[in-house]
Subunit: 363 residues, 2 copies
């Protein structure tokens, strides 16, 4: 009894049963408040509960899951846990899952395909009932998710679109984001605008650029080809800062009349500000800068950064809620069709952009 606990290390249902003098089934029924427990005497219940509490009984999740065929676990695969983008989405997912009994198991693939596969395998062995993939700007190969689709595990990807797959997805409307960014600058009076686009490999880059081009056309604004730059591809999120700085320095050498820079994301924008500062140009007095994402950094920088905001926490909540819905629909054998969301971004105007004085206008 007592010494059994010491030697075996763990208090089991049988231990509790032996201690309080009832059978394992009775104890189980009482502790789980199973339907049958209605017909068990209050005295018995009290004795069982007292014994369990005194002995520090804790149900074994393995045995329970093996029996019930339910793991109560949801896998969350993150591409870079050091990336604030992922981190805020995680926050949202957590919030949505808090009220449920599911345990979110977070895995950090660290932008490494091999790690991704390995962790995915481990999650599958642990019989996760659902999966959320949080993709930052890193490329996700659909093939990597084949195992998931095959196992028919409900899953949602956030931060990237996968129309070809049966997986639901949720991401920001990049096209609108690009549109809004340029519109913001234009409405402040800027006409001489440089653009730092994202890496060519990234779908996001194309979308944001398309939005920029659309606004330019609508507003009759001409963008100079030589003032449009591309970020090189990279696997490190902070690389954007240094590239943004490098490109801006280059830009300052050739572009005299430039009054504003539209950066691919916040880190790039921060890099641009750094370069402007080094070159003795004030932000926003001499040049406005707008970013994209609204990572926590953005509101803590000097000057605070104007940016196109992705509602990341909300996206996390939506992803988790969708996943729960898909999981719920599964046993009813009415699998929900994949749904693809595009969330609306919005401009957060802070101190890095300002209305251009009329005298400085060229156009």
């Amino acid at each position: 009894l007592a010494d059994r606990k010491q030697t075996k290390g763990r208090t089991t249902l049988a231990d509790v049963a032996k201690d309080c003098g009832f059978s394992v089934s009775t104890v189980s029924i009482v502790l789980n408040e199973a339907p049958l427990s209605r017909s068990i005497s209050a005295a018995t219940k009290a004795r069982v509960r007292e014994a369990a509490a005194r002995m520090g009984y804790r149900p074994d999740a393995f045995a329970r899951s093996l029996r019930s065929r339910r793991s109560q676990q949801i896998g969350i695969m993150v591409f870079d846990i050091a990336d604030p983008f992922c981190t805020l989405i995680l926050r949202g997912i957590h919030t949505a899952l808090r009220s449920t009994d599911y345990l979110p198991i977070i895995m950090d693939a660290h932008n490494d395909a091999e790690q991704f596969e390995r962790y995915l395998g481990m999650l599958l062995e642990r019989r996760i009932e659902g999966l959320i993939v949080v993709a930052n700007w890193m490329f996700v190969d659909i093939k990597r998710l084949a195992a998931i689709e095959q196992e028919k595990i409900p899953s949602v990807i956030v931060g990237q679109q996968m129309r070809s797959s049966a997986m639901s997805s949720i991401m920001v409307d990049n096209e609108t984001g690009g549109y809004l960014a340029l519109k913001h600058l234009h409405q402040l009076g800027h006409r001489e605008i440089a653009v730092i686009r994202g890496p060519k490999e990234l779908p996001d880059s194309k979308k944001r650029w398309a939005g920029i081009v659309r606004y330019a056309a609508e507003a009759g604004l001409k963008l100079r080809r030589s003032w449009v730059f591309d970020l090189p591809g990279a696997s490190d999120p902070t690389a954007g800062f240094y590239e943004g700085r490098r490109i801006t320095t280059e830009l300052l050498g050739q572009a005299q009349g430039c009054t504003a820079i539209l950066a691919f994301d916040d880190l790039t924008a921060l890099g641009a500000i750094s370069a402007l500062h080094l070159a003795g140009r004030q932000v926003p007095e001499d040049c406005s800068v707008i970013g994209f994402d609204d990572v926590p950094n953005a509101s803590l920088s000097t000057p605070t950064l104007t940016t196109v905001r992705q509602p990341m926490e909300q996206m996390g909540v939506t992803a988790a809620e969708r996943l729960l819905a898909e999981m719920e629909s599964l046993p009813n054998s009415k699998p929900l069709p994949a749904k693809h969301w595009l969330t609306a971004p919005n401009v957060v105007a802070r101190d890095s952009t300002r209305r251009i004085p009329i005298s400085a206008k060229k156009h």
Copy 2:
């Protein structure tokens, strides 16, 4: 067979056995490469493996763990997953665990004691074999960890000292950090220095201040009592930014000759820079600012931030390695005594501090 897979959803060892015509035990032995597999014919092995692969067999972690009494899981309790401090430690832990077969289960307590307890309970039910608690500046109650100690689960806490407990701990040497911060400013010629201390409730605050006082005494430097401020306690890490800004604004009103600010942490320092900027003071030309931690933000700000660096990633690695060592020693019934590490911080000199021109010296 095939339809069984469809109806039941999962391929089991029995399915594979039936398919290839051998018994469950043979299949198990082959797939696990158990000792006995040495005496199994190559032909059998091949047929077994082929069947398993073809049917997409995956061992059930629940059944396996139930039987082997080993969960292969390590719990990682983080106090705020959105805090870069925690995030970098996580990165280190992951790195150290990558080469093992343990699955790290990350839980975000979100600075909420109730969440902490709930998740701890879930981890315990899942029979984690070890636990790492990543504490940022939030207060950890020892009582909360009572369950862990009682269950005799090897565990390590990083970011906070718990000498009273049997848990190993690893944290930065705050006293030395405070000492180095002031030394850095002093050696650059600063004599009129304001200090923004951390919240009073935080042990870190006292330690860092003690180091500052020790250096001041050694160098014969006098710190004005009225130039020493305290951050209020708060549960949100970004609060430091706004408090740092508020306090600095207040300081600028009263402290005319101040040439440097020693901030409690990086976010506070960033807030101070913001306030200086708003007041039209240049950093570092008019006032130097030094932070503490070296979060990723620090090197991406304008100007880049001089700070006292905590080797967070390395601390994560050390914590994980220590945990593995304690876990290994457990079955040998030679429990390792708790060990308490103090890692050395170092000053990273960037652009927010500069040598004071001789003409400006007062003292």
